[in-house]
């Protein structure tokens, strides 16, 4: 069975034909969104995070057909905001190998939109689904807190 879907990928309207078991991860990569990484494949690491209808989801655990009629945003569609978060990560030396950075940045951006003035525990809780095997998380956490403070001060 081939299914026709239509969606907005990074605000570009697309009509397409897909096999029903196509994962959103494979689909967005086939459209050139290579920021979306295949990591653990067990729904654990957060590397494949995309924003579906304003919410961060694991694209490795979402069928592309479920994005039918919806908006999908990858880091390619949030370059300005992603660069800003990336700058704070670089300042703390927390980008390291960088493989987890796109998924992490996408979740940080989602958090900054969803939580108003989050506590340290709320930040840790929100980002707990993004695994990193380089940093030990402390430098990432400093970077995120600096990013949130900078956004707060800019208001």
């Amino acid at each position: 069975m081939i299914m026709e879907i239509s969606l907005w990928l990074n605000n570009v309207f697309i009509k397409d034909n897909i096999a029903p078991d196509t994962l959103l991860l494979d689909y967005v990569r086939s459209k050139g969104c290579y920021s979306v990484k295949r990591g653990c494949e067990t729904s654990n690491c957060g590397l494949c995070t995309v924003i579906l209808e304003g919410k961060p989801v694991l694209s490795c655990s979402t069928l592309a057909v479920r994005a039918n009629g919806k908006h999908v945003i990858t880091m390619e569609g949030l370059q300005e905001e992603a660069a800003e978060v990336g700058g704070f990560l670089a300042d703390q030396g927390s980008e390291q190998c960088g493989f987890c950075s796109p998924g992490f940045i996408m979740n940080v951006i989602s958090m900054s939109k969803e939580l108003k003035d989050p506590t340290l525990e709320e930040v840790k809780g929100y980002l707990a689904g993004n695994l990193c095997r380089c940093t030990g998380y402390q430098s990432q956490l400093r970077a995120v807190l600096n990013y949130l403070n900078a956004k707060k001060e800019a208001k």
Partner: protein
């Protein structure tokens, strides 16, 4: 113009031949009678298997993604995500916020935005935090053919081909505590424990034993309303004797049994030591 057909990645093991967004519950029920057909929840668990699915049944067009508050309780559609359970203010203003507490360690926000209540409850996973939590509440499931039945009864039923429509939680004034032990913060639990006190009577649910969550009522009233250390210790021995624990890669049965006692004691104390009680 050539039609490009996008297919799944090589690492994905499950296959779906047809995808059906059903128009009503009857269509879902009829399709679900064949073993090769599957009702989809969030697919986080399903996608790691090797099933060859003939018809994937999608309930997302049926409006089952809402949490509705009534005079008597809450009605939670089977397509509500775990994240919605966690963040629903009205729901979490009851039962000492344990529903949010039982979801907050489930992998990560992105996972919880995918996983559904129906997927977790209908599958009756041994490691389910949600099942362990809801079994301590006055909770029911509404099945399309089976009607409304207590969750406690449903949890012990063999899996069939009915459709889980919603989970219903009745409001009451029970005091609840939810605790788990995990090897890492976002791993599935080594053991999960819900303690509840309702009308001066106590009950404990132990999940991730590693088998399915099990409810134990303090029928003999070993625990008073504010139990002494001796009463608690006696009750813990009773739990250890009456609930079976198993071993797997996360922990041995012996360790789980020990942890069950520790968490149960902490849960009881958390409830009795709350301010204003």
């Amino acid at each position: 113009m050539a039609v490009i057909i996008h297919t799944k990645g090589d690492l994905t093991l499950f296959t779906i031949k047809n995808y059906v967004v059903v128009k009503d519950l009857e269509e879902a029920y009829v399709l679900n009678q064949k073993r090769s057909n599957v009702v989809l929840g969030g697919i986080a668990w399903l996608k790691m298997g090797e099933r060859n699915i003939q018809n994937a049944i999608d309930l997302s067009g049926l409006g089952l993604d809402k949490i509705e508050e009534t005079e008597e309780g809450f009605e939670i559609g089977s397509m509500v995500t775990l994240r919605e359970l966690e963040t629903n203010t009205a729901l979490n203003s009851y039962f000492n916020g344990v529903i949010a507490k039982s979801t907050e360690h489930i992998v990560g926000v992105q996972f919880r935005n995918c996983a559904t209540v129906g997927g977790s409850i209908f599958s009756r996973f041994g490691f389910s935090d949600i099942l362990t939590c809801l079994l301590a509440l006055d909770a029911y499931v509404e099945l399309y053919k089976g009607g409304v039945i207590p969750l406690r009864e449903f949890a012990d039923m063999p899996k069939d081909n009915d459709i889980l429509v919603k989970v219903i939680i009745k409001k009451d004034r029970r005091e609840v505590s939810y605790l788990t032990h995990r090897r890492t913060a976002t791993d599935i639990p080594v053991i999960a424990c819900t303690v509840a006190r309702v009308n001066h009577k106590w009950q404990v649910v132990l999940g991730a034993r590693p088998s399915k969550a099990k409810l134990l009522l303090d029928k003999e009233q070993m625990l008073s309303n504010n139990p002494t250390e001796e009463e608690i210790n006696k009750f813990i021995e009773y739990i250890k004797e009456n609930i079976q624990f198993g071993s797997n890669m996360r922990a041995s049965a012996e360790f789980r049994k020990h942890l069950a006692g520790v968490l149960c004691k902490r849960g009881i104390k958390e409830i009795t030591e709350r301010k204003g009680l």
